[in-house]
């Protein structure tokens, strides 16, 4: 069997005296759609930040398709094909929606800057092709009407979807989405669910931190439950729903 798409072994991180992540190990199979769930403050986002090396872990390591990520910069990790989004939609202000999506294609721009500056045919052709694939993604997410609007003028839900397709524009092998459904209304959540299914069926591995249970149970094929900085359970959505430790993590222990 080949190496998992993403694998964490014994990850730990403390802030001051708080153990945000404590000896966490998990693995994400290639081509799966894995959801990372857990109550607020469970350490999900910290886990994402450790995987993408925004934080240096105190212990443990992360392997991407078998390759350890230690020593790589966040940009270096992205160039391997591991791309993430952020909890608060971090679209780039001062640019249009289309330009935001195009910025996602950064790793696939082949024409060097001087060719772009000379308006050489190869650079212009590449630009047209990138615009075409950005338009296709905007269409897929239902954002085409916002194409030329300033990205910051978009409604919050649209901004979050925009950030997701910006990450997809980087053609990742594994995409990490941090609470993509937060702030989305029902219609937008449905849009997101179909987008996620389309992404997975195109062969991209998806890891999503999410609170919206109906979304998670509807699209994920594997669920990892985190509480108090540690993995509590993992399995298929059906297995997780019946797990008493998961219920405990969410609703608390019954008074004995």
């Amino acid at each position: 069997m080949s190496a998992p798409a993403l694998e964490a072994v014994g990850l730990a991180k403390s802030f001051g005296g708080v153990r945000a992540v404590d000896d966490v190990s998990f693995s994400v199979p290639e081509g799966s759609l894995t959801a990372l769930i857990g109550p607020n403050g469970a350490g999900k986002t910290t886990l994402f930040n450790l995987v993408t090396r925004l934080y240096e872990p105190d212990a443990g390591e992360v392997r991407f398709r078998g390759r350890p990520l230690a020593g790589l910069s966040p940009a270096g990790i992205a160039s391997l094909g591991l791309v993430r989004t952020f909890q608060s939609a971090r679209i780039f202000p001062g640019m249009t929606a289309l330009e935001n999506v195009l910025a996602g294609a950064h790793l696939h721009v082949r024409a060097p800057a001087w060719r772009q500056m000379l308006w050489l045919p190869a650079a212009r052709r590449e630009q047209r092709e990138l615009v075409r694939s950005a338009d296709a993604l905007l269409d897929l997410a239902g954002l085409l009407p916002f194409r030329d609007a300033a990205a910051t003028d978009l409604p919050m839900g649209a901004q979050k979807l925009l950030e997701v397709i910006r990450a997809l524009m980087a053609r990742p092998r594994v995409v990490l989405l941090d609470e993509p459904a937060a702030g989305l209304n029902d219609a937008e959540t449905a849009e997101l669910a179909s987008l996620l299914r389309a992404v997975r069926s195109s062969g991209v591995t998806v890891v999503v931190v999410e609170h919206n249970m109906s979304l998670v149970m509807g699209v994920a094929d594997r669920v990892i439950v985190v509480d108090l900085g540690a993995v509590v359970a993992s399995g298929t959505p059906a297995e997780i729903q019946g797990n008493p430790r998961v219920i405990e993590a969410y609703v608390g222990r019954e008074a004995a």
Partner: protein, 625 residues
């Protein structure tokens, strides 16, 4: 030995004042998170006011000093209430930096109007005769300086650490939103800290004035020294500010005494770079892990102005036609100023790539103009190089300087590039003034030949005009090509959110460096053309005042638009030419325009025009295909 002790003591005295200015930086930074570049100007306002009261009006020294401090604090309170405080809640931190650069220019301009450009000196408070302690002669003024500095440090420390007001100030620094929810009046706290910083700068300026000569623009030297001191000691650390100030003061005096006073400014730059390399958080503060997953700039004020397709081509061709016909339209007397406008625009264009697109503030753009200008002019004048080769050499040297500065600063977040470029500009200032044999010193380099390529001579204004206009068209087209493609998108991503940019695989330091290199190269080209056109180059034509002016031109014209700054350059170059008697008010007007533009005119003149006439912001409903 005795001389060494004297030098060190002189350094400690000067360092005390740097420390006081640095303390003001730290105070405002702690409360607001913003760097206030106008800090040093309040020293000089205090000193100049003291001169007026004590020498011109003949008031007793202590009444004059009290009045001068009151004037400085009142000026600080008024300026803070009118600009700094209301802007703080609306502008991103980098715009606050530009706003305070505007305040610095405004205060310098105001001092120029009130006190003129001549240097001033104050008599020592307690007579000229020095006191001898253990065989070392100490100037009596030294006791005043050290005493005042110690009183200020103790007072600020007590205020912050031991009073309820101080707790409120510290709460604002930690978390303004939470502080507001807890009932702390954040704007009032901000105004208080700004005013207090102005007041202590005023006191510092007044006590140090008797040991130096000062004029309307000496304030920026205090700003750079105080800013360097605080960066060396650690932003926000009170002890660090003072220690950084003393270190810098002693190092500068030793360099001036034993090497050459030319390099006193260089020492500030060297110490600063060393600190940034070894310990970027400063020598006296603990390293703190910053939260990487929050955004750098919460607010961006640029309107998105885009001209597309046929419309862009029509406007572009129209602009080229106007450029081609201009010499037939405008009176011949104005042609020279228009050429200068074009030459300066090339330098501002570079600044736009760096500031407007990449979000990095440079306060030393004219320093690169000086490098390019002097290199090309000296090679062409003294060594007979062809002008083109001189320009190329200037650009190469500028690029080398830019790479050196950016290797140190590009990996750091915050305003280190602004600081390093300001120090660089001041170093270039003192080198061009001091290296008299090569540069001609303060009176300038004369006899620079016209720009010529082989037999083609561009001596006349019209010939130079067409050369510059053609260059501008080529440069704007090239930059436009880069900006509309992957290169420009990467720069703009870095401008607002470096973490998100890196998460998409954008090599952030590399793009910052590229933007800085482009900006330095264009400034260098602009400086060379400037020298060839005037047949002359003097330090003040390409000094720090020019750097600040170029920022004003860019922001007033419109950042991040490539062509917008042409409005700003034209406004600030042509108006003083047309209305000669207003020349005295030029600096003041530049400062005020910059402050007003940062505060009220997002996108500058170009942004306002474009939104009004060309491109009403594309709304979702209106732009559906």
């Amino acid at each position: 030995m005795e001389q060494a002790i004297q030098t060190v003591i002189g350094g400690l005295l000067q360092g005390s004042v740097f420390g006081v200015v640095a303390l003001g930086f730290s105070l405002v930074f702690r409360v607001t998170g913003a760097i206030n570049l106008s800090q040093g100007a309040f020293c000089i306002v205090g000193a100049l006011a003291m001169y007026s009261f004590e020498v011109s009006l003949g008031w007793p020294a202590w009444i004059a000093a009290a009045a001068a401090v009151a004037v400085t604090a009142a000026a600080g309170a008024a300026i803070g209430a009118a600009t700094f405080v209301p802007a703080l809640s609306r502008l991103p931190v980098s715009s606050m930096l530009i706003l305070t650069a505007g305040l610095l220019t405004t205060l310098e301009g105001l001092s120029l109007v009130v006190w003129g450009s001549q240097p001033y000196a104050l008599p020592p408070f307690s007579g000229e005769a020095p006191v001898t302690v253990l065989g070392v002669r100490l100037p009596t003024q030294g006791f005043w300086i050290v005493g005042a500095a110690a009183a200020i440090i103790a007072g600020v420390w007590f205020l912050l650490m031991r009073t309820a007001l101080g707790r409120g100030l510290r709460a604002c620094a930690e978390n303004p939103t939470a502080a507001r929810l807890m009932g702390i009046d954040v704007p009032r706290m901000t105004l208080f800290s700004f005013t207090l910083a102005a007041l202590i700068a005023g006191v510092g300026g007044i006590v140090v004035a008797p040991i130096l000569s000062f004029q309307f623009d000496t304030g920026r030297l205090f700003t750079i020294s105080g800013f360097s001191a605080v960066a060396i000691g650690g932003l926000g650390s009170l002890a660090g500010s003072v220690a950084g100030g003393e270190l810098l003061g002693v190092a500068e005096q030793l360099a001036a005494g034993y090497v050459s006073s030319l390099f006193a400014n260089g020492i500030a730059l060297a110490l600063l770079i060393l600190t940034l390399l070894v310990r970027p958080s400063g020598l006296f503060t603990a390293r703190r892990t910053r939260r990487e997953d929050v955004r750098d700039e919460h607010r961006i004020y640029h309107p998105v102005v885009r001209l597309r397709g046929r419309r862009a081509v029509v406007f572009g061709l129209g602009a080229v036609a106007v450029l081609a016909l201009l010499p037939w339209i405008v009176p011949a007397g104005l042609m020279s100023s228009i050429v200068i406008t074009g030459i300066l625009f090339i330098g501002v264009l570079g600044l736009d790539v760096l500031m407007g697109y990449c979000g990095q503030v440079s306060l030393g753009q004219a320093g690169f103009m000086a490098v390019g200008g002097y290199t090309a002019a000296i090679l062409a004048t003294n060594y007979g190089w062809p002008p083109l080769a001189g320009i190329a050499a200037g650009i190469a040297l500028s690029l080398a300087c830019a790479v050196a500065l950016s290797l140190v600063t590009m990996r750091l977040r915050g305003h280190y590039l602004a600081l390093a470029t300001l120090a660089f500009g001041l170093l270039v200032d003192s080198l061009t003034v001091g290296m008299t044999e090569t540069t001609g010193g303060p009176s300038g380099l004369v006899g620079v030949p016209s720009f010529a390529v082989g037999p083609l001579d561009f001596g006349s204004p019209v010939a130079m005009y067409y050369l510059v206009a053609a260059l501008i068209v080529v440069l704007v087209l090239a930059l436009l090509g880069g900006i509309r493609s992957g290169f420009g998108r990467a720069l703009q991503a870095v401008r607002t959110d470096q973490t998100a940019a890196a998460a998409l695989g954008i090599d952030v330091p590399r793009y910052k460096m590229a933007a800085f290199a482009i900006s330095a190269a264009l400034a260098s080209l602009s400086g060379s053309l400037y020298a060839f056109y005037f047949h002359f180059l003097s330090p003040e034509m390409v000094g720090t005042a020019r750097s600040l002016e170029m920022i004003a031109m860019l922001v007033v014209g419109g950042e991040g638009t490539l062509v917008g700054s042409l409005f700003g350059v034209a406004l600030l170059t042509l108006l003083p030419t047309i209305f000669q008697p207003l020349a005295l008010y030029k600096t003041l007007a530049e400062g005020l325009l910059l402050v007003l533009a940062v505060r009220y005119l997002p996108g500058g003149i170009f942004g306002a025009l474009a939104q009004r006439f060309l491109n009403p912001p594309a709304r979702a409903a209106g732009s559906a295909p």
